[in-house]
Symmetry: C2
Subunit: 337 residues, 2 copies
């Protein structure tokens, strides 16, 4: 697959309608290999399932995991004018500078797990519109953000983590979640980077107003009208990864809201994704459970930046290393029973 520039949501929707599936031969050969490794059956628990799943997407029964890529997208949100965040909007660009200088949490995690890290700041001086007053983006804007995400993925990597930075974006993610999953804004709105009780009440009210103003519940229209540029870019990157048969580790609440738009647009669109962690942002656990995703880590993280996904690279590396590196009973001369 080559890079693309989507001119409309329909062009992106067409991609989602013909996604590749995992390689059943590789899965079958990986299962057979797993059964012969020097350990009691199933003793590596979920690591075994992860390795077989990874083998299926990579089309290789004994795959390596050596070139993980972390892509971070940053965007600004008009809704911050409503006072929904504990931090000022300038922090988005300041944190992008911090990413580029190597000073953020995600930089340390990328280094720890040997991941390439790319940062895409998307028109930070042009925030999305305040979605309590109209759609966050027009169709050209969301298609452009999807394209940026799509083109940010390195097809030569072997695992993708998508992360984000965008003051105000938990409000957008709450609005997306409410629109997709239903229920009330209260069910899907949390404290984000740390708003107080008053701020939480305000955020919930803002989400209710956003849903009232933007009534189209088609998943990609939800992404356009209630999302943000970094959220759409994550959706674009996750879709590109699928087309490249790159497994994806999802991060937290905002990343998962981007992924959810794909799942609602096309059943099975997240089959190549695993949930890296469950965030302490209130609604993330429900979101994962509604998507049928079971998190690898549960460490009370709620930073974004792809940090929970990046930490889970270690688990994936461990799983793949055991699967592909272990000796079989026959090779090691170990009695099977």
């Amino acid at each position: 697959m080559t890079d693309r520039t989507f001119a409309s949501l329909e062009e992106f929707r067409a991609v989602l309608s013909s996604l590749p599936v995992p390689d059943e031969n590789a899965i079958s050969a990986a299962k057979s290999r797993n059964a012969k490794l020097t350990k009691p059956p199933a003793a590596l628990g979920r690591l075994e399932d992860l390795a077989i799943w990874y083998a299926g997407w990579r089309g290789n029964p004994r795959p390596l995991l050596e070139r993980p890529q972390i892509v971070i997208f940053a965007g600004n949100h008009g809704v911050t004018a409503r006072g929904v965040s504990a931090f000022p909007a300038e922090v988005t660009v300041q944190m992008v500078t911090n990413f580029e200088a190597g000073g953020a949490a995600i930089n340390q995690l990328a280094k720890t797990f040997g991941a390439r890290m790319d940062v895409h700041a998307i028109e930070l001086d042009r925030p999305t519109a305040d979605f309590t007053q109209g759609p966050a983006m027009n169709e050209a804007e969301v298609a452009s953000a999807l394209s940026i995400g799509w083109n940010a993925v390195d097809p030569d990597s072997d695992l993708l983590v998508t992360g984000e930075m965008g003051i105000g974006n938990t409000t957008a993610a709450s609005a997306i979640s409410t629109a997709l999953f239903g229920g009330s804004p209260l069910d899907w709105t949390g404290r984000g980077t740390g708003v107080n009780d008053h701020g939480l009440k305000l955020k919930t009210q803002v989400v209710a107003e956003a849903l009232e103003m933007n009534r189209d519940r088609d998943a990609l229209r939800v992404l356009q009208t209630l999302g943000g540029r970094e959220i759409a870019a994550m959706a674009g990157a996750i879709a590109r990864a699928r087309v490249e048969r790159l497994p994806v580790i999802l991060d937290g609440f905002i990343c998962t809201s981007a992924a959810a738009t794909l799942a609602f647009a096309q059943a099975g669109a997240l089959d190549h994704c695993v949930a890296g962690h469950v965030s302490s942002e209130g609604a993330h656990a429900s979101m994962l459970s509604r998507l049928g995703l079971s998190p690898l880590l549960d460490l009370g993280m709620r930073l974004g930046e792809g940090s929970g996904g990046a930490l889970a690279i270690g688990v994936m590396k461990g799983a793949v290393a055991c699967h592909s590196g272990m000796a079989t009973f026959a090779e090691a001369g170990v009695s099977e029973d």
Copy 2:
């Protein structure tokens, strides 16, 4: 601290009675640093607590984690004559060969997380006595195993994971747990590497007989009479790590049973330990909860070898890398609120 040869349990008990405590100045400076890092307060969740805890034990408010050591001890168990395991006793020595050849799961995990790995096979041709007939070890034997563990720790490492291999050792761990925590053998006996219903009933019966035969409930006597050489060696290594101010990541059911003997012998003896994971071996979760330990990972693993602890090295490395590598708000020019 130098290497030692314990001649009696009392010599080892004396060590436990004067264990070092963490460095409060380092903890305080690490907390202060943590509060200034470019992230919302507490947004890294448990990673922040882990980094501060690690800083306290290392006596350094901005520590590194670069030289983790995994030590695996292997031992054989007379109780296997009772048919308590799904694998024959020869597998212990076969797996030691596999460790030495680099073919086991733990080898792949050690490589993935950059850990040094040492294997100590302890008198495999001299299994412990069948503890349904008398004590598993005499005092000289347990003291020798404690010494082997003590001397296996590299004082220049900066993190320790202890692992084990020993066909029959879940039975020993169940006996230790029942003796220490109370309740019935049924509460603490599980399927180990995969015994069937009949095998589980037999194991439970064997544990009951072992407790009937060995009635001294002093924690170090429990280690001697119901333990095994590899279990005692893990206890010795964990104690040595404490004396060297090396944080320890505990592995699963058997490793935790070894650690539990220290906790019962001396309150607070496990303050330098974190639980790497909760195993799918039934009683491990209760054991951790009774010891006040909260696992970092929950991935259905039950292999032993230190594998769950080794996988958690990634989490510890991530925690320490974020803490010590991130920029502060002032350094990065990011607005705090």
